[in-house]
């Protein structure tokens, strides 16, 4: 593959242009993917951070969790049969701080479980983003639907729901605020979750999609990500096609002197591999740097798993694009090249 490398060294500008385009497209893809993940965390970290398991909603809720009301008798029986299970509810609401400033949040309450924060009556545990808004441990918060007061007991990291910080409160306080006795959801962790005849069951992924706006938001962003991936594949195909057209004479002569067509394909693949690897390495480095300097308010979350998965996809798409362009090389007749002038 020395010949492929030599060509790249001698024609730096040509390959630099292709590399910079791939770099820009892959960088943009990583950034949008980071935003998609960030928004996903912002929308549903409370649910996403739960272990794999099964969620159960009331059948009458028509798969909409905030319409779900699980019968207390059914809930009690499930919690007895499955000690690891927990029932929980989430509702959007607000609290007023000591300066009477209102803060939107998602109230969460649950039965006794290690998966959710334990709070006593009159206590509240908040997502840390509210600390940045000036709320401190020991502050007193109020809600106009609640007769008492909440004392801030502490903060937890990355507990968001529907783009709002989560507030863990006791079940009795929750029932007073929302005038409801039943819980919305039951969650049983583990792979072998049972089928419960009175309830609809959902996997983690299905339950996320039941959250209003989650699916629409993620679909839009993921569509952009995949479009960018497809565009990068097309760029490879088009760019290599144009380069191949310019090199018909060269390929023809190489074929005339006996070079195998597969060697010409290997040349194209090698060049594609080098360009993509360098472009992706730069994109990964820059996107990781971006995640460190991204503004506080920007929901940006780019994991190495996502980066590696997208990089592998870029490689595959690049390979397909370069191979498609290579089919014209297969059809080049050596004689054509000999009849052409100097290369």
């Amino acid at each position: 593959m020395k010949i492929a490398w030599k060509e790249m060294k001698k024609n730096k500008t040509r390959f630099l242009i292709l590399g910079s385009i791939i770099f820009l497209v892959s960088f943009l893809t990583f950034i949008i993917s980071g935003l998609a993940n960030g928004l996903s965390q912002d929308n549903a970290a409370l649910i996403k951070d739960l272990p794999q398991g099964q969620f159960y909603l009331d059948k009458d809720a028509d798969k909409t969790y905030n319409l779900s009301k699980i019968d207390e008798g059914v809930q009690q029986q499930i919690l007895i049969d499955h000690p690891e299970a927990t029932a929980f509810s989430v509702q959007m609401g607000f609290v007023n701080d000591e300066d009477d400033k209102q803060h939107s949040l998602a109230f969460v309450t649950s039965t006794d479980s290690a998966l959710f924060e334990k709070v006593k009556e009159g206590e509240i545990v908040l997502d840390r983003s509210l600390q940045e808004d000036g709320i401190q441990v020991g502050d007193v918060l109020t809600n106009n639907q609640f007769s008492g007061e909440f004392i801030v007991k502490g903060f937890v990291d990355q507990q968001k729901y529907s783009h709002a910080p989560v507030a863990f409160i006791d079940m009795t306080n929750y029932q007073e605020i929302y005038r409801v006795m039943e819980m919305q959801t039951i969650f049983i962790p583990g792979k072998d979750a049972p089928t419960l005849s009175a309830l609809d069951s959902f996997s983690n992924k299905e339950f996320l999609n039941a959250i209003p706006s989650y699916n629409a938001e993620q679909m839009s962003l993921n569509m952009i990500v995949w479009f960018l991936v497809i565009i990068s594949g097309m760029l490879f195909a088009i760019f290599f096609y144009m380069m191949n057209v310019q090199k018909i004479g060269l390929y023809g002569i190489l074929k005339a002197i006996g070079m195998k067509t597969i060697s010409l394909f290997k040349m194209i693949w090698y060049q594609m591999l080098v360009i993509t690897a360098i472009s992706l390495a730069l994109s990964i480095a820059l996107s990781q740097a971006f995640s460190l300097i991204a503004p506080e308010g920007m929901p940006f979350h780019l994991t190495m798993d996502t980066v590696l998965m997208l990089s592998a996809v870029f490689m595959v798409v690049g390979f397909i694009g370069a191979t498609i362009s290579g089919f014209q090389v297969k059809n080049i007749e050596p004689l054509q090249a000999i009849q052409q002038g100097e290369m």
């Binding site: 006996g258 195998k260 290369m343």
Partner: protein, 225 residues
């Protein structure tokens, strides 16, 4: 003994509904250590017979015997293998690879021919060949910095570095002035004799004929003398 036999080769081109017979039955035997020149007016079929003999296009009918085997009955892969190992090519334009240095052009040909030489033997062979064509001082130069004559010398070196049995040269002096053309022909003559090559050359330049062993004249798809 004939190293290469072209027997009753015909070539017909179809241009829509019109069929044109370019070669009307060509018979030719090439001998080892000899340069055979094909001459004739434009359209006489001399380049067509050269490219058919070199396995770059197919004959419509006839046989091309090389090493006792009929090339017209071989698969494209077998023909490619012969081109890589047993044939050498010099074209009208040198057709050097623009991004390879002079010595890399020769290394490429050794790679393509899948030579069994060790790395050291290959390096020595390249050095020897560059001395032979008097290009060792330009071994690290790129084609763009060489003169027309120098490029053609490198093209000849590339064509024979893998020790082919047959050398095909299609108007190798057409793009050169008289002095450089004579230099290239002297080189071809010397290499054909010392390396015992069988060389088939197409030319329209009668000044080059003193350097060849046999002259074959073609006209209208036939060999006339």
């Amino acid at each position: 003994m004939s190293a290469f036999i072209i027997d009753e080769v015909k070539k017909t081109f179809s241009n829509g509904e019109v069929e044109e017979e370019i070669l009307k039955g060509v018979n030719l035997s090439l001998k080892e250590g000899e340069i055979t020149a094909l001459i004739g007016p434009s359209g006489s079929g001399k380049s067509t017979i050269l490219t058919i003999a070199a396995g770059l296009q197919k004959a419509s009918t006839g046989e091309i015997m090389f090493d006792g085997k009929d090339m017209t009955k071989m698969s494209p892969e077998e023909v490619r293998h012969i081109r890589a190992t047993d044939f050498g090519f010099v074209f009208q334009s040198s057709h050097l690879v623009p991004f390879l240095t002079v010595e890399e052009q020769l290394q490429l040909m050794l790679d393509v021919s899948e030579t069994k030489m060790s790395k050291k033997e290959q390096t020595n062979a390249i050095e020897e060949m560059l001395k032979l064509v008097e290009m060792e001082h330009r071994k690290e130069s790129y084609p763009s910095s060489l003169s027309g004559g120098e490029r053609q010398r490198v093209a000849i070196a590339r064509a024979i570095i893998h020790r082919p049995k047959i050398l095909f040269a299609d108007e190798p002096t057409a793009s050169l002035d008289t002095k450089r053309s004579k230099g290239v022909m002297e080189l071809l003559q010397e290499l054909t004799r010392t390396l015992k090559l069988t060389t088939l050359m197409v030319t329209h330049d009668e000044e080059m004929l003193p350097y060849v062993d046999r002259v074959i004249t073609m006209r209208d798809g036939y060999i006339v003398e």
